[in-house]
Amino acid sequence: MQQITATRPSYYRPAPKPEPRAVKSDPAPSRFWYRYERMMLTPLFRFALRVVAPFVLAVLAVHAYFADQERSDNFFLMLHELRTSFVERPEFMVGAMTIDGAGPILAGDIREVLHTDFPISSFDIDVGSMRETLLGLSPVKAAQIKIDGNVLQIAIEERTPVLLWRTQDGLQLVDAEGFVVSAAKGRLAHGDLPLMAGVGADVHAKEALQLLKVAAPLGDRVRGLAWVGDRRWDIVLDRDQRIMLPENGAVGALERIVAMAQVQDLLERDVSVVDLRIGNRPTLRVAENSVENWWEVRKTSLGVKE
């Protein structure tokens, strides 16, 4: 039996199906996206979004975090501990203080003024203000402070008193620059220092020292210096003699008088005051009753009888 087969002409073959083209309506941005894109293209808005918004957000977040007292306390405590743990490492700790160049009394004063509790971290030591404090002490002329290793080294230069100054409140010690060092215990305790008197004499201590140097040939006769009327010096000698020096050129005037005294024994004579206040008219004041005394002496020596 023959099999029946049906042949189809080729054109009955189904055509290859064309790709189903997606029927796409024209794309258009929705109103929202249109507005959104326009907004994103606005320069001010973009700046706000890129810079202002993150900044504001960060500030707000920090504020919100620290609004709680406990949290902010914890935070600052943590910070403080962090600092302390670093600062208090042994290599930064200062354990002792050395004071060079100061006497025992001054050293005690310095320790009292600084009143530092050792050990202390070198970060907590304010060397500048410490030095200011030390310079505020009257006996201290200069101070050097440095932290060397674990030791606070203080080098002091003390003021040396060169003059005794008699004031209403008692005797004071004055150094060469005119600073009052301290109160003197008494005249005898400082017998080697020359004496000066008068209100404001300490300011002119330098001149006083010059005058004393010039007056050295007079030796023990110099009792002291007096600052008169806050303008000029007098040199006070024993036997109530006085050399009144001018305001200006006091040293030169004194040099002349000293020379005269050496050559002509001016000061050995019975003169109470040598007045040099007016430079071109030096004046001598003869002592009271000296003329009568002189006459007495001559009468006696010549044996003249009345």
Partner: protein, 444 residues
Amino acid sequence: MGDLYQSQRAMRAMRKAAMQRGVVAILDVGSSKIACLVLRFDGVDQTGDMDGIGPLAGQSGFRVIGAASTRSRGVRFGEISAMQETERAIRTAVQAAQKMAQIRVDHVIACFSGASPRSYGLDGRVEVMAQEVTEHDVAHVLSRCETPDIGAGREVLHAHPVNFALDHRSGLGDPRGQVGQNLSCDMHMLTVDASVVANLAHCVKRCDLELAGIANSAYVSGLAALVEDEQELGAACIDLGGGSTSISIFMKKHMIYADAVRMGGDHVTSDISMGLQVPAATAERIKTFYGGVQATGMDDREMIEINGETGDWEHDRRQVSRAELIGIIRPRVEEILEEARKRLDAAGFEHLPSQKIVLTGGASQMPGLDGLASRILGQQVRLGRPIRVHGLPQATTGPGFSSSVGMCLFATRPQDECWDFDLPVEHHGVKSFRRAVRWFKANW
């Protein structure tokens, strides 16, 4: 006319503001595509004072930084018929152009071709106040132009002062500062349907844009497609668009006539679609690939595959010769051109010294069109492309973008319109006082 005067002045002010800001968008609402260009102004006054320095003057002041076009939806005969669809299309174009420009635009200058434009020639006459013609006199004579009855629901779109005449001297472009007695002026006024303009304005507003100007596409495509001497000597520009064909006649660098034929390339497509029984998209594709208007013997043998997706194999595998296709296309193109010819004749185009006709627009790209057009319109026909402007992408330099490019020129170098001049305030007291002053000047 007062309301329109105000709104046109407001748009002019907005355009100036947009130029100050440096960015303005151009929107060409056509029947087949909607194009959007974003312009950036380099310097507003860079070329403002140097008139007539060369044929490319006026373009150096701006640069196209964004361009996009999309298939038009909801626009028929150059008028908006479905507002939602049109709005979506405008959004698409504007967004793409903005994205390319990387800048946001707020001001838009739009053009459209429909709304049955109608031209009027007006003239006015006034006596010059002082010896010399001042800007005030110009405004006065413009306001004196007799406005004809333009009909209900119509609005003035353009009102260009075309020509000024002072006493016996005519053909003055700018009479200011000249000495004379009687100043008269010819003005060209173009009116359109108010509802179409309102629809377009509404559509633009719905896209969050501000309408900074509005123009007729016949006018702006003439600006772009006619070269300078054609504009000067007299020429007609025929913009063969998708839904309508707009005609404008230029003379002495002014548009003196504009009209539109409500037929265009879309009608050719629909003819093909009906004749070949294919969908419109296929018909459009066949038209652009194989279309022509001049059949040769070769075209009889050139068979075109008409692909289809109906599922009917016989129907989908049809072939048609190119001659048949041309047989469908040609009558319609002839009809369009003849209609345009009628409009030109009605305008008195044959009396112009130069009879140049420039074809532009998307449908002018059809092969052989210039040969057909020269049979119908006269010998001096050429195909026009828009002039080159800075930064325009290659894809948008074709003749289909004439009106877009023309809008750029319109935006950067606007011609004087009636509303650029301050309308004179006509107080009776002021007038009589002026008259008294003049009497004194004349007699003392």
